[in-house]
């Protein structure tokens, strides 16, 4: 099954983190991505730019609204994602627990809604 791992973290906190903590985190992510790829679980994944670069679009009653900023103001913001192939949700949770983001924020595990032919 395919799962999304949605990585949420405190953007402001990350931005204020000391340089060596940032380096340590980035290299942990490189290793994590490598481990996902080597085990054949990796399908996709990327880091997102901070929410200040976000634009939200919504069409109501035929009128398009374009807003600066993210969809919702939350304490932790969506910072990146992985799409993985996992045997079942337990395996997906095991990968989420290994994600470096799980020890600084929250990793949400969501199954992909597969279209059945």
């Amino acid at each position: 099954m395919r799962y999304m791992l949605l990585i949420y973290g405190n953007e402001a906190g990350m931005a204020a983190a000391p340089a060596d903590a940032v380096t340590q985190m980035s290299s942990a992510y490189v290793s994590y991505t490598e481990a996902l790829k080597k085990s054949g679980a990796w399908l996709a994944g990327d880091r997102l730019k901070p929410t200040q670069s976000a634009t939200s679009v919504r069409i109501t009653d035929g009128k398009t609204n374009v807003l600066d900023g993210p969809y919702a103001d939350t304490k932790e913001q969506l910072a990146g994602f992985y799409m993985i192939e996992a045997e079942d949700v337990d395996a997906a949770i095991a990968w989420a627990a290994r994600c470096p983001g799980a020890s600084t924020g929250t990793v949400e595990v969501r199954p992909i809604w597969e279209l059945t032919m």
Binding site: A28, V30, S31, A35, L36, D90, I93, A94, R98, S103
Partner: protein, 419 residues
Amino acid sequence: MTGQESDTARAAAEATARQSYGKLVAYLAARMRDVAGAEDALADAFAAALERWPQTGVPGKPEAWLLAVARRRRVDAIRRRLTSEASRDHLRLIAEEMEARMTDEDLPDERLRLMFACAHPAIEAGVRAPLILQTILGFDAATIASAFLVSPATMGQRLVRAKARIRETGIPFRVPERAELGERLDAVLEAIYAAFAEGWSDPAGTETRSRNLATEGIWLGRLVASLMPDEPEALGLLALMLFAEARRAARRNAVGDYVPLAEQELVLWDGAMIDEAETLLRRAAAKGVVARYQLEAALQSAHTARRLTGRTDWIAIKHLYDALSVIAGSPVVSINRAVAIAEADSAAAGLSALDELGGDKRLADYQPYWAARAGLLARLGKTPEAAAAYDRAIGLERDPAVRRFLQERRAGLGRAEKA
């Protein structure tokens, strides 16, 4: 009360509440053959005890208190929603019988029988430890789920299914006869060890929702060892857990960094706990039946002997792993055996022992395999391969402290030769 005193009071109240709760659940369940029914009857009373006893102190007769509250809170109303009339009446009769007994004697301890029911072969192996934690210690599904890294909803369903199976299959609440005892006791001990190991892998206790399962595992181990004092493996398991637990404080330094066994400060080891473990292991060995947990405890004993001799006897450790891989071989045992070979003989010999495991697919996503491999490759000066193995280990690690440690080792690769 100071914060620390109130923590102590809470811990004492919780321990008694769990002790009494487990005994009552076991007593009820054994007679009704219905774990879920017994839990339902006592759930409210147990919650009330966890809330009130830390403030009021533990009552003189904790079981009687729980039972009285359970009755006052209309056990029958809860029962009506959940099960048939017949079992409700049955429960009421048992409760009356219990109250009568408790006036002049202690409630018989049926927890061992309950544990054998929970670890019955007809119950799926993966749910046995969670089931014991819930029925004997009263942990909720969410806490158990966090510890075993599954979703609370999934854990809840597994527990409900297992309890329904106990009732519907008519799984007996009894200690098995001698002929089948060995195998069945193994299942009980394995479940306890699984609970301990989950707690042991979270040394910092950073996960706020997961309780310290290592402590609970030891508690259950003590319970079984006290109820079956002549079973060498029950003693062996308790010794094993105590040896490991004794080193808990040494596994992290003051700033929370991971400290490997070889570099741990001996003064931080709990000497009294190690002595207790040694005594248990000697008692077990005196029974003359060597098996898995005794061997694992003997390995721990060999490692802790460093506090007396100042050195680690790797040859003895290697021989113990040889014996262990014959009677209870597993990838974990093989990896540790390879590390022992590396220490006793040479890094190259250790690495070739690891190479022999290369075909095992279970190891591809297993952090200790890659960490051991990386360490041996580094010692042999194979820097690029060591770096790749460290990367794999780092990417597979859950614990941030261990991850940092591995990252530092990786960053230090090649430095030794250049210096």
